[in-house]
């Protein structure tokens, strides 16, 4: 079933891709086959493979149960949030929060997770920023 859904999504993607390829504007410079031909080929391969998945699906993979699935969704949400907050809060604070969350979800106790978060954040800050001179996001307090 998963492969069928995958094939369906793939086919939708391929159709969208082919449509998006068809509206690529021409420019004043032209060559023999133009900017659309190769995307058409790529889109067709996507479509053919997707139809193949629909017709001949593989055996079902081991999907996580819904709780573990939520785990992934939350972790991804935390990472998105991290990316968004990095310029606001600065590297050190955001990293403490994100690392603590991930460590906690991977099985540390809350206090231990917080300590790991602080240690990781400080460690990366020292090694990459102070020693190696990499620029990290600056927060309101300058770190």
């Amino acid at each position: 079933m998963s492969d069928r859904i995958f094939g369906g999504v793939g086919l939708a993607l391929a159709v969208f891709y082919l449509w998006a390829a068809s509206i690529i504007p021409d420019s004043f410079m032209v060559d023999v086959i133009g900017p659309r031909t190769f995307p058409y080929i790529v889109g067709s391969v996507l479509a053919i493979c997707s139809v193949f998945f629909l017709v001949f699906p593989d055996s079902e993979p081991h999907w996580p149960v819904s709780r573990d699935f939520l785990e992934i969704v939350f972790a991804a949400a935390v990472m998105f949030l991290y990316a968004a907050l990095l310029p606001e809060l600065g590297f050190v604070i955001s990293t403490v929060l994100a690392t603590s969350y991930l460590t906690w979800r991977l099985g540390s106790k809350p206090v231990g997770a917080l300590l790991t978060g602080v240690a990781t954040s400080a460690g990366i800050y020292v090694v990459f920023h102070l020693v190696l001179g990499l620029s990290l996001a600056k927060g309101p307090m300058g770190f």
């Binding site: 420019s27 133009g34 900017p35 889109g43 990316a83 001179g133």
Partner: protein, 514 residues
């Protein structure tokens, strides 16, 4: 003789204090990453690329650092195979078969140093193979026109799934996905905006580093989260090493094994679609049928069963550099990542690399020799140090991996959009891995897409729109035949080879790519 003098020049470049230090650092980090289950050569190199660039290292130093990581990870993979029966990375899988039984018999130290020597032998002779073979391949590659290049890229994608692939449609889908992503941004020939939908962030295309770090490193973090695998790999099991040096007699008995496995591994590395995993698998199976036909000692802690796969995978990793450097077409996940390094440095790999940037090529090769000696020195006396890393729980390690990925991408782009894109790639990578869709073709598609299209369009310009130019020369026809055979062979053989490899795989999941 010309080769030797070029190699000499390479040594002059590599033997500076800075480069020696970078080689050492790379070897050390690589061995650590190889030893850790969940971090292999491909994702290890992937998270370090953006860091190396943010630090502003020049082309040769950056390459030396990252290839040392690559070689180091190949060495490191064996440590957890032997001690814990968990392969540190995909190619080290076969080392479990005899390595772990040896450890159980209290001969872990012996197995570790034997496999360290084996890794050295494999990598050392394969690097010589690289020195001798790559310039020859360059001579052939200089005959290639745009049409032949287009077919060569097609060949690379067709064979990338490898002989053990069970579903070629999934490999093809992955490749098309990567190629499709590569099309995003301004068209290099005419300047038309493609697939950008007016989004300014997409005008320059998607940076392949974002895709690589997301697909390889972050998807690994998601896998660990899914399984709540937060404990230490070493866990409660005691990591006793015991006597370190093997008897001279044992070592002597392994010499013929080393010879055979080096050759097999190197060839497996050079050939498209094989790579280090198959190199170690073939070395082990052939060695078993050569010296232990009744199956009396192999699988029960025979030192030769440890030596063969380790020689095989390290020889293959040297061999895999041949097509990557000489043709610009990588045959495995890690060499694809190394190709990304070259592209990021604005160095186009391929035949011209040897004439245009000889300092880069020969400096790199010399660094491989130096790194190899360093790795031997690091891996035998200091092996105890590396086993300690197995005691660090992954609940601490994996978040660090994630955070370093963010630091690297922030360092090169400084953009929130790009970091979010990386997370999205991580999620897509996780889903694709669940569905058994290989990630390496996606990466390679993103890396090679534009080059492939440019060659097609050049060929078409030459022939004035006549598609038959793609089969217009004997060379192109030969490449087509290899591509088609390479694509169809796994359909026939794939399940058989795969089930054989699976049969010898220990229960745990290992990192993607080799």
């Amino acid at each position: 003789m010309e080769i030797l003098s070029s190699l000499g020049d390479g040594f002059i470049i590599a033997l500076t204090v800075e480069n020696l230090f970078l080689a050492f650092l790379g070897c050390f980090l690589g061995t650590l990453m190889g030893a850790l289950p969940g971090l292999g050569p491909a994702n290890g190199v992937a998270i370090l690329i953006p860091i190396a660039f943010s630090l502003g290292l020049g082309p040769t130093p950056a390459l030396i650092l990252l290839t040392s990581v690559y070689y180091g990870a190949m060495y490191g993979g064996r440590i957890s195979s032997i001690l814990l029966n968990i392969p540190g990375d995909e190619p080290a899988m076969m080392t479990c078969l005899d390595g772990y039984p040896m450890a159980q018999q209290g001969r872990a130290g012996e197995a570790l140093s034997l496999s360290g020597i084996a890794s050295f032998v494999g990598a050392f002779f394969a690097t010589w193979g690289l020195v001798l073979l790559a310039p020859q391949l360059v001579k052939i590659a200089l005959l290639f026109g745009p049409a032949e290049y287009f077919v060569l890229f097609t060949l690379a994608f067709a064979t990338l799934g490898g002989i053990s692939s069970t579903n070629q449609a999934k490999s093809a889908f992955a490749a098309a996905l990567g190629l499709g992503i590569a099309m995003i941004g301004s068209d290099s020939q005419t300047g038309s905006q493609r697939f950008t939908f007016g989004e300014i962030h997409l005008y320059d295309g998607i940076d392949f580093l974002i895709a690589i770090v997301g697909l390889f490193a972050l998807s690994e973090v998601f896998i660990f989260l899914e399984h709540h695998r937060g404990g230490a790999a070493g866990g409660s099991r005691a990591l006793k090493i015991g006597k370190l040096l093997p008897d001279l007699g044992v070592l002597k008995r392994c010499v013929p094994t080393m010879g055979r496995s080096t050759i097999i591994g190197f060839i497996a590395g050079v050939l498209p679609g094989a790579g280090a995993s198959l190199g170690s698998f073939l070395s082990y199976s052939l060695e078993k049928s050569a010296v232990d036909r009744e199956g009396k000692t192999f699988g029960k802690g025979d030192p030769r069963g440890v030596v063969a796969p380790e020689v095989g995978n390290n020889a293959a990793s040297g061999g895999a550099l041949v097509p990557m450097l000489a043709l610009g077409v990588p045959g495995s996940g890690t060499t694809a990542v190394l190709l990304a390094v070259l592209l990021q440095l604005n160095i186009t790999p391929g035949p011209l690399l040897f004439t245009k940037n000889p300092d880069v090529v020969w400096g790199l090769i010399a660094a491989l020799f130096i790194g190899n000696f360093m790795l031997l020195a690091l891996n035998i006396p200091l092996v105890g140090l590396f086993t300690r890393i197995l005691l660090v729980p992954t609940r601490i390690l994996m978040p660090v991996v994630a955070m370093i990925s963010f630091v690297g991408i922030y360092g090169i782009t400084g953009s929130t959009f790009d970091m979010m894109l990386m997370v999205a790639f991580g999620l897509v990578g996780w889903v694709l891995r669940k569905l058994d869709v290989p990630l390496v073709p996606v990466i390679l598609g993103i890396l090679l897409g534009n080059e492939m299209e440019v060659n097609l369009r050049r060929a078409m310009t030459i022939s004035d729109g006549d598609w038959s130019i793609l089969v217009g020369s004997p060379l192109a026809i030969v490449l087509w035949i290899i591509a088609i055979t390479g694509f169809l062979l796994p359909v026939v053989l794939g399940r058989r080879v795969k089930s054989k490899i699976e049969a010898s795989r220990p229960a745990d999941e290992v990192a993607e790519g080799d």
